[in-house]
Symmetry: C2
Subunit: 143 residues, 2 copies
DNA sequence: ATACAGGTTCAAGTCGACTTGAGGTCAAGG
DNA sequence: CCTTGACCTCAAGTCGACTTGAACCTGTAT
């Protein structure tokens, strides 16, 4: 496949594919003249990368987890990442509940609503210091 | 409270507090000389902001959701954000399952493992185009 | 009165993940 | 053979969320 085919099949722009290749997350099988040639399996790789990104992993982390440098993959790393995800799922769930409640609750200031406060407090549990720093789901995107 | 107290109580650096104030997410009640003075309730606000950030909301989104500009908050927005979170929770869960499986599975290449592929595929469902762009949970943090 | 710890402003820098732009190459079609 | 459009490289720009640095005040303790 040439890059245009991958673009069509994956929905990702060519610039992103080149960038991922540069980072070592995917690889082209060779060149036809100047042009990159990709093996169809790159689509699976890209799906995995998207999944990881959607789950909040950085490209480096994804690379570390699925492109074994050593004899094999680092199972410890996978498991600890899974634990982190569990933690984040908890937070996300708390936030979602908080939002749904806030949307339904008539209180003018949510800080006066004990139910809301309870939800916020519940979310804080077990993670008193903040360092996740996860960015938003915002993009001008044509989607 | 002066800024140092807020720093101690929230764990956030003073620079972040000033930044949040500049963005209109929190507000100081006044000044003692040059120095900002905060009402203790700012701690609740900060907890909410942290929660939102942890859940992947941008500062602007948080501002939009909890600092009603108009007559009252935009309940539609809250609900649609909640739906987005549901979607992300699904993805996170799929990823987590994928990771746990990958850690346990003996297959040398995970793309050869049908179970893993099934997990990845499950995650892709209902979100064929990618645009979330959520950043990582990484930080040098002393936590 | 003086020192100084701890505030303050404002501009600029950083980081990750890309995107954009300028300028160059090349394979295929007419 | 020549044009054209798809592809290439490399440098620089962008965006959000902060951080850092320089230069400057000021309340409080000695």
């Amino acid at each position: 496949m040439d890059i245009a085919d991958v673009v069509k099949a994956s929905g990702l722009p060519a610039s992103t594919l080149r960038y991922y290749e540069e980072k070592g997350l995917i690889s082209s099988t060779g060149r036809k003249g100047l042009r990159r040639t990709f093996h169809p399996s790159v689509l699976q790789q890209l799906a995995l990368i998207s999944l990881g990104r959607g789950a909040g992993l950085s490209l480096d982390e994804i690379g570390a987890m699925f492109t074994p440098k050593g004899p094999d993959i680092d199972r410890e790393l996978l498991l600890s990442k899974a634990d982190e995800l569990d933690e984040q799922i908890k937070q996300l769930t708390a936030m979602r509940n908080g939002l749904r409640h806030a949307a339904a609750c008539p209180a003018p200031d949510h800080f006066e609503c004990p139910k809301f406060l309870r939800l916020v407090r519940a979310a804080e549990k077990g993670k008193l210091r903040i360092q996740p720093q996860t960015a938003a789901l915002t993009r001008k995107g044509k989607a």
